[in-house]
């Protein structure tokens, strides 16, 4: 069976220009003076990772260690500077909830807009509309512009849209930290359902307890380098002792 995700020797390099040249004059001035230097910053260094279908994969690491960058490479937002990343199947990215939302539109309009951003057809969205609304528990606010919503309410709608389909791969980046505990439980429940249906899930979380509770495999990243990957209990134990 094909692997769900293969990350092979992926490096991601950002040019941290000291001064960002946003105008042509500045750019050419710097070019003439020979000051057009960039600080190269490697957010990921030679990462190798294999995720098998049906895995519930956790990513742990401190802030700025490259977890989100790795997720964005997998989701296709970034193209890696070196190496490659193979993904087999459809991806539902939950990198930041409500990324495709237009705050001036109502929730109803946003469900269709965001749904098509994720590649669904309007007919499919019509069919699933009630399911989305029921899951988010926001039926009374459907025709209110999103700018009047609280962040928790936006998160509910976004999670509901992204998980109505049965994606092959679900990418979740710290999304569970928003919303109240009831909603968090509901999200965990939904992710487990998806997992039982054969979806591969990748989860980034700062809550090591949550990772231990939900994942079967974990990768630990520090400063762009893969420190360790493998079964949850081993990696989590090493991570705990290292960060104490």
């Amino acid at each position: 069976m094909k692997n769900a995700i293969e990350v092979r020797d992926v490096s991601m390099c950002f040019n941290l220009s000291k001064e960002k040249h946003e105008s042509m004059k500045e750019y050419f001035m710097a070019l003439i003076k020979g000051k057009l230097q960039y600080d190269e910053f490697y957010a990921l260094k030679h990462i190798n990772l294999t995720v098998e279908p049906g895995d519930f994969y956790g990513l742990v690491g401190l802030n700025g260690s490259g977890k989100s960058t790795l997720l964005k490479v997998i989701a296709g937002v970034y193209k890696p500077s070196a190496g490659y990343c193979n993904v087999n199947g459809t991806i539902a990215p939950l990198i930041e909830l409500g990324a495709g939302f237009d705050m001036d539109l109502t929730a109803r309009e946003n469900i269709y807009l965001n749904g098509t951003v994720l590649g669904f057809t309007p007919a499919y969205l019509n069919e699933k509309f009630d399911e989305i609304v029921d899951f988010s528990e926001l039926r009374d606010f459907l025709d209110v512009p999103l700018k009047n919503y609280s962040s928790g309410m936006v998160a509910r709608i976004a999670f509901a849209i992204a998980t109505i389909t049965k994606p092959d791969i679900l990418i979740a980046d710290e999304i569970l930290s928003v919303g109240d505990f009831l909603f968090q439980q509901k999200c965990e429940q939904r992710m487990k359902e998806l997992l039982e249906g054969g979806t591969t899930v990748i989860l980034v979380s700062h809550s090591i307890e949550q990772v231990e509770r939900m994942c079967n495999k974990v990768a630990w990243i520090n400063k762009g380098e893969l420190i360790m990957d493998g079964p949850t209990n081993q990696v989590c134990a090493a991570y705990r002792s290292a960060t104490k």
């Binding site: 964005k72 193209k79 990198i95 990324a99 495709g100 237009d102 539109l105 098509t116 590649g119 057809t121």
Partner: protein
């Protein structure tokens, strides 16, 4: 992967996101007229009023200079106005489209050309509304309708493709240099005066005539007028220039855009 397979994937990707373009256009449309009493009527009213202003200006103050001697100057003017504003609106919005969708592009994978494409298509939709204004004006001024009017779809659609190509290029350039936004505004104003919107170049000197013929906009606008206003239809030159400019612009724009699109997300 062979080139053919890649192209097939490209088309599949486009097909998958066709509804997104539709919803983005409908969003733009809703937001444009939200909280206005007349709403969509403005789409028709706006070009009518704009051309009224220009009509008054050019047929009174500059009467001896230009405008004089042109049959049905009001319709003549409105055609130039509609086509040029489609071009300037389309390019200006497409130019900013990638930048303003930065929050989305940083988080989800979407083919990036969707955004310029959507903005230029939105300009085309607006242009169709303006055509309603044109028909109203033609009826009011007792203008004759010719069967060649149907041929006007050719300059209109080639102008759409031409605008799309330039829009793609500008969108790409803007990501790296924000100067483009300011420079393009000035350039568009200059271009407007050389597009034969409110004068007929045939009334001007031979020098200026030659010069103006280097401007593609002149060809699109004149082609449209020959179809709708005078009933002469399209000359062979017009077909070649309109089509040629569109194809060249699209190829250059698309190529430039594709070459740089993977770097966009790092500069947004």
């Amino acid at each position: 992967m062979s080139k053919r397979e890649k192209f097939k994937l490209y088309l599949q990707d486009f097909w998958r996101y066709r509804f997104l373009i539709f919803y983005l256009i409908s969003r733009d449309f809703k937001l444009k007229y939200r909280r206005s009493v007349l709403g969509v009527v403005w789409s028709v009213l706006n070009p009518l009023l704009m051309s009224l202003v220009m009509y008054v200006v050019f047929s009174s103050i500059f009467k001896n200079l230009k405008g004089g001697g042109i049959d049905n100057f009001a319709v003549f003017l409105l055609i130039g106005q509609i086509l040029f504003s489609m071009f300037s609106e389309g390019t200006a919005n497409a130019m900013q489209s990638v930048l303003s969708s930065a929050p989305l592009l940083r988080k989800v994978y979407i083919p990036k050309y969707i955004f310029p494409l959507e903005k230029v298509t939105f300009a085309l939709v607006n242009c169709f509304f303006s055509l309603v204004a044109l028909i109203i004006l033609m009826i009011c001024t007792g203008c004759r309708f010719y069967w060649t009017a149907f041929l006007a779809i050719y300059p209109l659609l080639t102008l759409y493709v031409f605008t799309l190509g330039i829009g793609l290029f500008l969108a790409m350039a803007t990501v790296f240099f924000r100067d483009v936004i300011h420079a393009w505004g000035v350039f568009c104003t200059a271009l407007m005066y050389f597009s034969a919107i409110f004068y007929d170049p045939e009334q001007m000197g031979a020098e200026i005539q030659k010069f103006i013929k280097f401007n593609p906009m002149y060809w699109y606008i004149t082609g449209f007028r020959k179809c709708v206003l005078t009933g002469e239809g399209l000359s062979q030159n017009m077909i070649i220039v309109c089509g040629g400019c569109a194809v060249v612009s699209l190829l250059v724009g698309l190529q430039a855009f594709r070459a740089k699109q993977d770097k966009f997300v790092l500069h947004l």
